[in-house]
């Protein structure tokens, strides 16, 4: 994890906020109960439960960390240790559309950085940043396993393959 920044949701003085009550909605609770049946112990359910939490809230807040710890009998430190290890768990809110540009070698030599730079410029965000309207987050990611159809941009869960700057421009207005 990067050093603590004033707007870092994990800064010590903001960890956690007792006013913010966090609980899975009934549907997610059912799914959580099902997850527990698939593993021989509670701890092993941590990664799928974090995925579930991210589906519900879009990111893993400090409050979510405490909540999941209480569900699985794990300390918040253990849960946060896992959250911070894996790339896919967002430690701060992300835009409605998470634009993840692969820039690894096969994508790079097929002009992935052109797409990445173009997105940052057109949306006026810093790498890793979110537009002020909360619509888009732009990040550079490592190999997505789609090198044969490089370059690839992952938007939330979906892959967009054989991308170009023009195709990206055509895609953006459809993501509102």
């Amino acid at each position: 994890m990067a050093e603590l920044h004033p707007d870092n949701p994990y800064a010590p003085d903001r960890f956690p906020d007792p006013e913010k009550h966090v609980e899975f909605p009934p549907e997610a609770k059912k799914k959580f109960e099902w997850i527990l049946t698939r593993y021989p112990n509670k701890e092993a359910a941590l990664l799928p439960t974090l995925h579930l939490a991210q589906e519900v809230w879009g990111w893993i807040s400090p409050e979510t960390v405490h909540y999941i710890g209480s569900l699985l009998d794990l300390s918040p430190a253990t849960v946060f240790g896992v959250v911070s290890f894996y790339n896919m768990y967002n430690q701060k809110p992300v835009g409605k559309y998470h634009l993840q540009v692969c820039t690894n070698l096969s994508c790079m030599v097929n002009r992935a950085y052109d797409i990445y730079d173009h997105l940052c410029e057109r949306l006026r965000v810093n790498p890793g940043g979110t537009t002020p309207d909360g619509l888009y987050t732009v990040v550079e990611v490592e190999c997505l396993g789609s090198c044969g159809t490089a370059p690839v941009v992952q938007v939330n869960n979906d892959y967009h393959e054989n991308m170009t700057v023009e195709k990206m421009d055509a895609l953006l207005p459809r993501l509102r």
């Binding site: 701890e43 070698l105 950085y113 190999c143 396993g145």
Partner: protein, 444 residues
Amino acid sequence: MDPIKILTANIDKPNSTSIDVYREGGGYNALEKALKMKPEEITQAVKDSELRGRGGAGFPTGGKWSFVPKNAPKPTYLLCNADESEPGTFKDRLLIERDPHLLIEGMIISAYAIGSCPMSYIYIRGEFHYGSTVLEKALAEARQRGYLGKNILGSGFNLDITVARGAGAYICGEETGLIESLEGHRGQPRVKPPFPAIIGVFGGPTVVQNVETLTCVPLIISHGAEWFKSFGSPKNTGPKLYCVSGTVRKPGVYEFPMGINLKELIFDHCGGVPEGRKLKAVIPGGASAPMLTPGEIDIPLNFDSLMKAGSMLGSAGIIVLDDSVCIVDAAWRLAKFFAHESCGQCTPCREGTNWMESILDRIERGGGRPGDADNLYDIASNIGSVVDLKESGKSLCALGDASTGPVMSSVRKFRDEYVYHIEHKSCLPGTRRYRRLDAPIAAH
């Protein structure tokens, strides 16, 4: 050599993921046959086939299975490694998304052979969201038809499979990293021994196999070990998927008998490099594999000949680079990958990968110093090596070794270009860098 369609037999059929289409092509017949065999007979057939793991290391699959102790105090597990994240590799994704039942059938047979407990896991990388939904649907179909669940086809064997999603960490493709991750931990590899076959996931004996390896198993059961060995050469047998990407005209997944010639694959089947360019380098086995020069590519793509040539088949992710690519830039990008993916547990890898990345970045930015090429080579050889067994094993797992592949090979084979870059503070004329150096640095 002509392409074959064995592992990829179903992928172009309409609705190829449905169980009915899979059944029409003879699917699950191998399972029926296997469940009438003794588990040892299946292991023996896999041994006889000389099938070697398709994930990267090329370890004999049947041998791995026979390490599993009988009557261990804890349950035995079969795990499928679908954490395909080696840059340049995209074959498992194709199998998962287009022919999930072949994988499921392979898993049930393999689980039966090793005496697995009634739960098996497919650890799939988190980014393959679509693939995981395809698998979930296929598993539901298999349960409905009685191929999964209690007393499968009246054999008394019980098995269910769970799809466990990773969350974006290359290191979880390392088998003990995968096991840690499946247990709900940070994906940091374990010190070996004990090897997973003795103590693996949840304390039990564990066999971890790559997707493509498992999809070979039903074929061996259906057609026999001799048939399987008729593809390729001794010790390098079977049909094989090759992933071709980079600056090449027709990238994609190609299936050939193990040991297609690399030059033939690139120029005759993949159309070579774009018009007006020349081949500069080929990475034959995913990001970890040392680069080959155009003079070195007249070589069969199998485990043994690539190892002899000082590289490796790895995951068969072939990345083609033409003469417009700056080799320092290419090495930098792969070094950046390994620096990002190092789990941080052991010193040579945690520190060394970052040093290599920053030195390569410095050279790219025109700040190269005389001796940087030697410096890079020295750092790399202190992290490990993928080819020299005497040099490997300095870091805790194979990621450290892997990180040295592109750096060491590019320094050794393209030293002139490094020297030019350092002296002239720019790329070799005619080559280019693909990123902008004035771009802001990522916030993560």
